[in-house]
């Protein structure tokens, strides 16, 4: 058993080496794990880490040349500080309130007006976070401290807006994306021959060397091809969009990966109470029926490993999985 044991069963587990990091991006090497795991982490960092972004705009006055809906779209794209969002904000859908409240949203207001002859540029810094809010201030990284341009106003034009920022994930809308891009690479020397490099005359001349090539041994001339080899070292480059620092993106990514896996394990281990795992909302009765029938030991739905017990839930960790235990050690 094999693959799982070699990766997870051993005491080593996935490892992360930070190669380079600053406030906006981090280069890491993820090793000792398989491709699916690495890609899952990548996908979660791209799309499933919650951040805060302006979601509702109440336009009181907009006499600028930009129509309301475009102004709102622009405001939505402004990155807002989302550090430790999970401790501070809940999703509106989980909240008791009707539309939004302090528990599930942050209110920002924008009031700008041009009175002089020269045009006024409204920047992200002009967004004022409501007093007492713990997060949601616009991210400003430029040396002038202005942030992104929202709009320009001519004499007499005015903007008076109330923006409701909510928690969300990039799966729903790109404005909640914590990362601009996540670089992802493995096997810089193409030893696994996953790719067949196309070249006209000389591959070495036409193809640039990977920037991670120095991190791995170059292939030895005449080395026999290992058919069984699988990628195990992954080079990730996290580029933050601004709302979260890269280290938090990584931590959050791991956390959400854990959570997702935990949900899967929980669902499978508590077969009789499947309802808890998925929430009570949208499943069709047919699915209920099928799941119920599975209680008798429908082999087809179970993973082949250890009958009903997956390798994840097998140890009887309960809520705290293997990863939960070691999560602190990683950071």
């Amino acid at each position: 058993m094999d693959d799982y044991d070699t990766i997870y069963g051993s005491d080593r587990g996935p490892q992360i080496t930070i190669k380079e990091a600053d406030s906006r991006h981090a280069q890491i090497v993820l090793s000792n794990c398989d491709l699916a795991f690495a890609n899952a982490l990548r996908r979660i960092m791209l799309a499933e880490i919650p951040t805060i972004a302006i979601d509702i705009v109440e336009v009181q006055t907009n006499t600028s040349v930009i129509p309301d809906e475009f102004l709102c779209h622009r405001l939505g794209m402004v990155p807002l500080d989302s550090t430790n969002i999970d401790d501070k904000l809940i999703y509106t859908r989980d909240c008791f309130c009707d539309q939004y409240c302090e528990r599930c949203s942050v209110t920002l207001s924008l009031h700008a007006r041009c009175t002089g002859e020269d045009n006024v540029t409204v920047y992200a810094r002009d967004l004022v976070v409501a007093e007492g809010a713990q997060l949601g201030s616009p991210v400003i990284n430029d040396p002038e401290g202005q942030g992104t341009v929202i709009c320009k106003l001519r004499k007499g034009q005015e903007l008076r807006l109330k923006c409701i920022a909510k928690k969300g994930i990039a799966k729903e809308h790109a404005k909640w994306a914590p990362t601009a891009a996540v670089g992802f690479e493995y096997d810089p020397w193409n030893k696994l021959r996953h790719i067949d490099y196309w070249y006209e005359e000389d591959a070495k001349e036409e193809w640039p060397k990977s920037k991670y090539a120095d991190w791995e041994e170059p292939p030895i001339e005449g080395e026999p091809f290992n058919y069984d080899a699988v990628p195990s070292r992954f080079y990730l480059d996290i580029e933050s969009a601004g709302s979260l620092p890269p280290d938090e993106i990584l931590q959050q990514g791991i956390k959400y990966l854990q959570e997702k896996l935990a949900t899967v394990i929980e669902t499978f281990s508590n077969k009789n109470e499947v309802g808890d795992g998925f929430g009570d909302g949208v499943r069709s009765p047919a699915q209920d029926y099928a799941m119920g029938g599975m209680g008798g030991g429908g082999a087809g739905y179970e993973t082949p490993y250890q009958g009903g017990r997956t390798p994840f839930g097998g140890g009887g960790f309960g809520g705290a999985t293997e990863y939960g235990g070691s999560a602190n050690g990683w950071s």
Binding site: A36, L46, G183, D196, E239
Partner: protein, 1173 residues
């Protein structure tokens, strides 16, 4: 050539930004753009200018006469002469009835916003003369004519961008169009026969002119100084005779050519014989025989002297010409010659000489010593400019106006009324009776493009002269002004010869920019450097120069034997010379004209046709007239710019590139090979790498892109406008892009494009859009729609009600959601289908019993829209009534949707098939995901290599932060584009060929092949599913057939036609067929009589429903005698009592079957159906 020229790598962002913020106060920053519309504006300017076309036209119209005699006796009565002394065209101003306004100019933007016409007053100064008294003048206003924007009658003439912006125009407003009812219209340029040049023509239809007519002729389109034209044709007859044909007021006339020659000058047969034949020709029996016959057959007319001929002509054409009754026949004959025969020449002697020349050319054609000229080649064509046509129409209308006065006087005289021309009151009464509104008819012309003219203006079409200058995007807009049409007459022609791209067109008409389909090859676009002359060049000293070069003047007689080559200037014979000398003369003239010496204008066309065996008829043909197409090329001997016309070009050696110059052969070289392309065709990057039809497609699609129609959108109220919200400047573009200032009007977006077959959703020209890119604003567009709501207080006397601004009584609460307290919509408000957009107070007409109430205008549209602008429009006529109409501009957001059309700039269009989540998109090692995925199968068969090169160039441009020059013909086999950009990519650390390893977004696995990924400029086309989708379950049906109606707007269905039916049959889809053709169509249940098998005889019974069915067959029933049992008797609706006819049943049939039965019954045919079981 890559290394030779250092490419310009700046995208000129700062310059553009600066120009945009501070529009220049002196002159436009983009003169090339102004040059593009110059022919339109200049041609309009020359009409109205001092001594311009209108002035010349006025002179040509001459004097109209009318007499007040009763036509009984010999005395004609007093003579009233009428003429036009002056025609004025005024600038657009507020009506004089408005007494309160101080600022009286009307600017174009006001007309656009108010949906009115930009027009200026047209007035004429009439001259009247009684008998031989003095001329008395009187001013008359004859309506308002549409004025061309930025012409010399427009308030925007010569305004700098800064001032244009002040007047709510685009900073680069070009003008060249008219505004009629708020719509921008332009008169399109038409190809017509080259003027004043006799053309040898072989046309089979010539044989139909009469007995013994052959298919050969010599045709000349003569143009008067006022630009109106008259075509004359010489026909060759089988027996060698020649007749002169012309058409006058849409009727054709044939006259023996000798009669015209003899009427023109006092001459004799000998002189004509000598004029037609040189000494050398005397040995040619073909010629001598024919000339002899020509002269002999004319003997039959017994007309010898000039006077006799004139008299004869005058007598025959007196009625046709409609001349004054007091003119003698000789005078009429002279008038005939002046107005019909070779009208471009004044001197009868010149006309006579040209006629001789034409006859000679005709004989040469008949003999086969010269080739027929191709009327479809641009060599024998010129352009009819909008302004000239406009002037011609004004002329004709003015003449008609004079004639209508004459007619009115005549009518008045016939009624027996006494008219005292000296009495001012009588005169004004006269004028008031004549409807002299020239303005209306010109407005009609511009708005419909239909020409209603008694003479036909020597044109081959009566409609399609104007087009709407659509502002879908700027490419489309500018293309309208560069468009030349061959004429709608040719559109119906079965043959395709007129559509062919001929080598003569090189450099004049763009070989790429023509639409596919029906207008292909007929609707061409001028090459971007090509110009059109709008005023005649100064050729006053050319005759002297020619003589000094050794050309024999035609006045010298007899002609020397050697002088066999004719020298013509604008269709006037100015001399003769020997063939040897001809070449010297032509070459010297060209040298001098480029040099600028000897007072020879640079745009003079020196068409030297050398003597050949059976080629074009030789001669030196000089052209200096208007409406010629010319283009700049470099003259090698002087290394200076020469202007070349299409007549001379076939006989010149112009190298395309400097390496192609043939020493001793080439005289000219192109400034740039891209000069042959139109503006739009030049914008296709690397078009020389593409398969040629793809460039044509791009020219079409570039004009359909949702781009930026303009920057002054706030001041426009077009019916429909498309706008791309997130337009960008292309990374890959040619320097011409900046020269034409196209950065002001972005037309697309730079997109990261991966060429990969991924998920299968990119099959068959579909493309996958990155959902995150879409969410960040990629391709977001807006459609603006304007709706006009009538608000007039008293719209028409026939209107049922008068409308007043909203009053507060009886307002419904739900209206107030979208409508303000004033009854007008709130700006910025979102409206849905059925929402109120305006509320008005309707007051019924007197006598109507209804009470006044508030009524509402409803927004009808399936899409949600925002109220963008609301305009309250007052009345136009100067009565200052406020708010007679309101115009609402809606803004419909159109983010890209599945089913929307996109295209690159290489004719590669595709439909968005999915908005794919970005995590599932493939990505490169740096984590970059494509915005767009297209399928590799889009390339092999289409061969749009230019798109690959653009992708490479775009990628390296993005990496290095430079704009890439994409001018075609810059690379060659030694310096390939792939190497040039590959090198740049390599420097940036990328693969030389633009490929990158990519990873599956779903599994994270590296894809087996490396993927071609780069940056390509994508256009979003205006075809969007939201305007096209058609779906129906149930809905409206046709009243007559009960079948679903057609039409998307009405919620109709899509027809399952015969072919669809056939394929369903072939597949055995019986159930589906039944469903489509019957159940979902006109399924009806109806009664039928089982006994007689008729639908029509069944009728419901009113009484007596004891047995079974309540519908009986009237035909099978018999009238009750009164003896039957009560239960057996039934009654129809009319009270008739019957017995029997109970054997009826209900069947399901298509409703049309019943309808058919009824129709047949109306013809006395009965249908009988067998019903079983």
């Amino acid at each position: 050539m890559v290394t030779a020229v250092k490419p310009n790598t700046s995208s000129n962002t700062l310059r553009r930004e600066d120009l945009f913020r501070n529009p220049p106060k002196d002159k436009s920053a983009f003169p090339a753009l102004l040059n593009a519309v110059r022919p339109h504006i200049e041609s309009f300017n020359v009409i109205t200018a001092e001594g311009g076309l209108l002035d010349l036209a006025r002179q040509d119209i001459g004097v109209k006469c009318v007499f007040d005699g009763k036509r009984d006796g010999k005395w004609l009565g007093n003579k009233l002469s009428l003429r036009i002394d002056k025609i004025y065209v005024g600038k657009p101003k507020i009506s004089e009835r408005d007494k309160t306004t101080l600022k009286r100019e009307i600017f174009p933007t006001e007309c656009r916003e108010r949906h009115i016409t930009y027009r200026g007053k047209l007035s004429v100064k009439l001259g009247l003369k009684i008998n031989n008294g003095p001329w008395v003048s009187q001013d008359r206003e004859v309506g308002n004519i549409p004025i061309m924007v930025r012409s010399n009658r427009c308030h925007l003439e010569n305004l700098a961008p800064h001032d244009l912006v002040e007047r709510k125009e685009e900073s680069e407003e070009l003008g060249g169009y008219f505004i009629v009812n708020g719509i921008e219209k332009l008169i399109r340029m038409l190809i017509v026969q080259r003027r004043n040049h006799p053309m040898a023509i072989i046309r089979p239809s010539f044989t139909g002119r009469g007995k013994s007519y052959t298919n050969m002729g010599v045709q000349i389109r003569c143009v008067r100084p006022d630009q109106s034209s008259q075509t004359n044709v010489l026909h060759y007859l089988n027996d060698g005779n020649v007749t002169f044909r012309f058409s006058w007021r849409k009727n054709e006339y044939l006259v023996p050519v000798i009669m015209i020659m003899k009427a023109l000058v006092e001459t004799n047969d000998r002189e004509i014989f000598d004029g037609l034949l040189t000494t050398k020709d005397m040995e040619d029996t073909f010629l001598t025989d024919r000339v002899e016959l020509l002269l002999r057959t004319f003997k039959g007319y017994q007309l010898l002297t000039r006077k006799e001929n004139l008299q004869y002509l005058g007598e025959k054409f007196r009625i046709v010409m409609g001349v004054s009754p007091d003119m003698s026949d000789v005078e009429v004959g002279k008038e005939f010659l002046r107005r019909i025969v070779l009208v471009h020449l004044e001197d009868p002697r010149d006309k006579y000489r040209l006629l001789l020349f034409m006859v000679r050319k005709l004989y040469a054609l008949a003999e086969g010593t010269c080739q027929s000229d191709n009327p479809d080649a641009i060599q024998h064509q010129e352009v009819l400019l909008g302004g000239f046509l406009y002037g011609m129409i004004i002329k004709e209308r003015a003449e008609e106006y004079l004639e209508s006065i004459v007619k009115e006087v005549r009518r008045e005289v016939q009624r027996g009324n006494v008219l005292d021309f000296n009495n001012k009151e009588h005169r004004t009464r006269m004028f008031q009776r004549t409807s002299g509104n020239i303005g209306n008819s010109l407005e009609y012309f511009i708005s419909t493009g239909n020409l209603s003219s008694p003479s036909g203006l020597d044109l081959q079409q009566v409609s399609g002269f104007t087009v709407v200058a659509e502002k879908i995007n700027f490419y489309r807009f500018i293309s309208h002004f560069r468009m030349v049409h061959r004429g709608s007459f040719f559109a119906q022609l079965k043959t395709t010869t007129v559509r062919k791209l001929l080598p003569e067109s090189w450099g004049f008409l763009c070989p790429v920019h023509t639409p596919d389909g029906s207008p292909c090859g007929l609707l061409n676009h001028l090459a971007h450097k090509c110009r059109i002359t709008t005023s005649p060049s100064d050729v006053s000293s050319i005759r002297k120069t020619l003589v000094s070069l050794g050309v024999t003047s035609p006045a010298t007689s007899p002609l020397p034997h050697s002088a066999t080559v004719c020298v013509q200037l604008d269709g006037c014979i100015v001399g003769w010379c020997s063939p040897k000398l001809a070449r010297v003369v032509a070459d010297t003239l060209r040298f001098w004209k480029v040099e600028g010496s000897h007072n020879i204008p640079l745009d003079l066309e020196i068409g030297f046709v050398p003597i050949s065996r059976g080629g074009q008829y030789p001669g030196i043909y000089l052209f200096s007239h208007q409406a010629r197409i010319i283009r700049p090329v470099k003259y090698l001997p002087l290394d200076k710019e020469d202007l070349v016309g299409p007549f001379e070009q076939p006989y010149m050696s112009i190298a395309v590139t400097p390496p192609e110059i043939v020493p001793g052969g080439s005289t000219h070289v192109e400034f740039d090979p891209t000069n042959i392309l139109s503006i739009v065709a030049n914008m296709t990057p690397f078009s020389d790498f593409n398969q040629s039809p793809r460039n044509m497609y791009q020219c079409q699609m570039g004009k359909q892109a949702m781009g930026t129609p303009g920057t002054a959108l706030r001041h426009r109220s077009d019916n429909k406008m498309y706008r791309l919200q997130t337009g960008q400047t292309p990374i890959v573009r040619s320097p011409l892009y900046d020269e034409y200032g196209l950065d002001n009007f972005p037309n697309g977006m730079n997109a990261v494009v991966a060429v990969i077959s991924y998920t299968g959703y990119d099959m068959d020209d579909a493309m996958i859009l990155n959902k995150s890119a879409h969410e960040r604003g990629f391709g977001h567009g807006t459609v603006y729609k304007t709706e006009k709501l009538g608000w007039a207080e008293e719209r028409r006397s026939r209107a049922k009600e008068s409308r007043k601004a909203y009053q507060r009584i009886g307002i419904r609460q739900d209206w107030l959601r979208t409508v303000d307290m004033d009854g007008l919509p709130t700006v910025g408000q979102l409206v849905r289908d059925g929402d109120a957009v305006a509320v008005y107070h309707a007051i019924p007409k007197e006598g109507d019993r209804a009470r006044p109430e508030n009524k509402v205008f409803i927004y009808k549209g399936s899409e949600d829209a925002y109220i963008d602008e609301v305009r309250l429009l007052g009345s136009e006529g100067g009565d200052n009534k406020p708010m007679q109409e309101i115009s609402i501009k809606y803004r419909v957001p159109r983010p890209p949707n599945i089913g929307d059309k996109f295209s690159s700039r290489h004719g590669q269009k595709g439909v968005c098939s999915q908005k794919w989540p970005s995590i599932d998109m493939p990505f490169t090692e740096s984590g970059m995901q494509p915005d767009i995925i297209i399928n590799p199968h889009a390339f092999p068969s289409r061969m749009t290599i230019g798109m690959f090169v653009e992708s490479l160039a775009g990628k390296s441009g993005a990496l290095h932060g430079i704009a890439q020059d994409s001018t075609p013909f810059r690379f060659d086999e030694e310096n390939t584009a792939a190497d040039y950009f590959g090198h740049q990519l390599k420097v940036a650390g990328y693969n030389y060929h633009g490929n990158e390893p990519m990873y599956s977004g779903i599994t994270g696995e590296e894809l087996h092949a490396d993927i071609y990924i780069g940056v390509v400029y994508y256009q979003r086309l205006r075809h969007m599913v939201n305007d096209k989708y058609q779906v129906r379950t149930t809905g409206r049906i046709s009243e007559l057939t009960h079948q679903p109606i057609k039409g998307r707007k009405k919620g109709g269905g899509i027809r399952v036609g015969e072919m669809e039916r056939d394929s369903l049959l072939a597949h055995g889809g019986a159930f589906l067929l039944q469903d489509r053709l019957f159940n979902c169509s006109d399924y009806t249940q109806t009664w039928i009589c089982r006994a007689c098998g008729s639908f029509l005889s069944t009728t419901p019974s009113v009484r007596g429903s004891n047995f079974g069915s309540i519908v009986r067959c009237r035909r099978c029933a018999v009238p009750a005698t009164g003896l039957e049992e009560e239960e057996m008797v039934w009654e129809d609706g009319l009270g008739g009592k019957f017995v029997g006819g109970k054997d009826t049943t209900v069947v399901a049939v298509p409703y049309v079957l019943k309808y058919l039965d009824v129709e047949l019954a109306a013809m006395g045919i009965a249908m009988k159906f067998n019903i079983s079981p």
